[in-house]
């Protein structure tokens, strides 16, 4: 059983193992597709890049998409871990709290109405996604602090259901108002696709995601303690208010950035942390890095399935995660409330 004197070793082993899985996924996923390529030729330095079709397909056509999947999967999984600890409920996630729908609404408004303004060279879509997810978070958070004798996470999850329905309705309203082609673009985007055009999109998303992940990386022990309740954490020396603000805003940034990069991709924030806890246990010093790495790997694999398993037209990756996640979520509920 876990004894803390080998905690350091367990952290190293966990990061190494899940890191190896993520690295393998990043290398293998670009090999899959309609044009067959070989890894040996991709990294064959004797062929100049301009003549190396395999390397071009690998690095230009496919790798950006794989990296996008890595970032989006990591972000959604880590956001899920944060919400689950602070709300003390393994069913909390960007989806169930309404943050994803909020982010989606923000992005759809920008896409449909051609708000092409850029702020500091950043496209309006990620900003709008972050604003949308933050509005949802602010509503959910206001409900949680309004209840001063501890947060009822059931209430928050129900609030998330109501918010999702409400934002969903606003979203449809925007589509009715928008003209046909804009609405089509928005609907296409909403299906969830990691088909990013270039490395630029990935790098642009990496900046806010990296900052949010770094902030959360300082908090794994706090997540352990708050999962026993805010009062228990405070009495053991955690400044809960401060940690909560930092963690929840960071998780909202992660959700907004992930949605703006890949569209709404449901259930990653629930499936990944749950599987990870089954493997590494409850300690967030293991759960957090493992979820970040496994979340990326999971979404890379889902995206490969989406690209190839349903004919050449492909399928939105969000549909693949929903097909897996829906039954998984029901199974979790079933186990929990049996």
């Amino acid at each position: 059983m876990p004894a803390s004197n080998d905690l350091r070793r367990r952290i190293v082993v966990t990061i190494a193992a899940f890191g190896a899985i993520a690295a393998a996924a990043c290398l293998a996923a670009p090999l899959v597709g309609t044009t067959p390529i070989a890894l040996s030729r991709v990294f064959d330095r004797s062929i100049p890049f301009a003549d190396n079709v395999d390397a071009q397909v690998f690095f230009i056509a496919r790798l950006p998409r794989v990296l996008a999947a890595l970032l989006v999967g990591s972000s959604l999984a880590v956001a899920g871990v944060v919400f689950q600890a602070f709300l003390r409920n393994p069913l909390a996630s960007p989806d169930t709290l309404g943050l994803s729908t909020g982010a989606t609404l923000g992005a759809v408004v920008v896409i449909t109405f051609h708000i092409d303004a850029t702020m500091f060279g950043v496209s309006a879509v990620p900003v709008a996604s972050f604003v949308g997810s933050s509005i949802a978070l602010a509503i959910v958070y206001a409900m949680s602090v309004a209840r001063r004798h501890g947060t009822s996470s059931t209430v928050l999850l129900l609030a998330g259901v109501a918010l999702s329905a409400f934002f969903g309705a606003l979203n449809r309203l925007v589509q009715v108002v928008g003209d046909f082609t804009d609405t089509f673009r928005a609907i296409r985007w909403m299906m969830g696709s990691l088909d990013v055009g270039s490395y630029t999109d990935v790098v642009v998303a990496l900046v806010p995601m990296g900052a949010a992940l770094a902030a959360i990386a300082a908090l794994p022990r706090v997540l352990d303690l708050v999962s026993l309740g805010a009062a228990a954490a405070e009495s053991r020396g955690v400044d809960v208010r401060r940690a909560e603000r930092l963690a929840l805003v960071s998780a909202s940034v992660l959700t907004g950035s992930a949605v703006s990069l890949g569209g709404p991709i449901p259930f990653v924030g629930i499936i990944v942390p749950h599987i990870v806890r089954l493997i590494v246990g409850a300690d967030h010093r293991l759960v957090l890095p493992a979820s970040a790495l496994f979340g990326g790997s999971f979404l890379i694999v889902c995206d490969v399935v989406a690209r190839v398993a349903f004919g050449p037209a492909g399928m939105p990756v969000g549909a693949v995660t929903a097909l897996l996640g829906g039954p998984f979520f029901l199974w979790l509920l079933f186990r929990r409330f049996r």
Partner: protein
């Protein structure tokens, strides 16, 4: 050592005071009981003492220093809290729960070392739960959970333990077990405690001193033998009760007989 000086508190501005000018003091090595009816302010008093709530007026001091001026980490090294129930959202083992008590002694990225582990095991042994260390906390019985949470508070190595109705959700067997454990920790390790409880017999067993709270005011305070009287029980709860020495129990016992108001 830990004292409240005329503290008042309301949860919202303009709301009725939950506590109204209460003073009390907890001396080193003592066990002070807070008793009173529902809504009398016992839990609020403990939260003020632990510094998680700030008084609207009055002061809470720890060795003379204002508790509000101390950092959460510093406070956690001096004061530990045992709530009525503890639930974990995730499958932590009993040992992992106890190790969380070491949090205020470690820096941000420091992992628990051999010393922390031996302190945690010592706390498990002191509460008779060493055999449970690898068990998932969620699978323990109510009494076992409460003992593990007390062990976690011991691992915090604080001077004072604040317990909020520590036996309220336990059956009589576990109630006695927790009471015996707390007495032993007080005698053998000199742990200072403040305990809120509805159980007057537990208070009589455990506490050297009592503070009687009603409607947010302290109506009496002093040595248990002096303030746990038939008259005070009537004032507190509106209940006619026999209060007498019990030869086999070796302390006062309270037998509620009838409601008089």
């Amino acid at each position: 050592m830990l004292a409240a000086h005329g503290v008042s508190f309301a949860y919202d501005r303009g709301a009725p005071l939950v506590l109204d000018g209460v003073s009390l003091s907890i001396e080193r090595g003592g066990i002070v009981g807070l008793i009173g009816p529902n809504g009398s302010g016992k839990t609020t008093m403990l939260r003020l003492l632990s510094g998680t709530l700030k008084p609207a007026s009055g002061r809470v001091t720890l060795d003379g220093a204002d508790v509000g001026a101390l950092s959460r980490r510093h406070l956690a090294r001096r004061i530990a809290v045992v709530p009525q129930d503890t639930h974990s959202a995730f499958d932590f083992t009993a040992l992992e729960i106890v190790l969380m008590g070491r949090y205020p002694h470690l820096s941000a990225f420091e992992l628990e070392g051999a010393t922390d582990l031996s302190i945690a095991r010592d706390a498990l042994a002191a509460t008779g739960t060493i055999g449970l260390e690898a068990r998932p906390f969620a699978t323990l019985s109510g009494g076992e959970k409460q003992r593990v949470v007390i062990a976690s508070a011991l691992a915090q190595a604080s001077d004072v333990l604040l317990l909020d109705e520590p036996t309220a959700s336990l059956d009589p067997g576990f109630q006695l077990e927790i009471a015996a454990l707390l007495l032993r920790l007080n005698r053998e390790r000199g742990v200072t405690m403040a305990v809120s409880t509805h159980d007057l017999n537990l208070a009589a067993t455990l506490c050297s001193d009592l503070v009687l709270l009603k409607g947010g005011r302290a109506i009496a305070a002093g040595a248990t033998r002096d303030v746990l009287t038939r008259e005070n029980v009537r004032i507190l709860y509106g209940v006619d009760a026999d209060v007498a020495d019990h030869p086999r129990a070796g302390h006062l016992i309270v037998v509620p007989l009838a409601r008089v108001e």
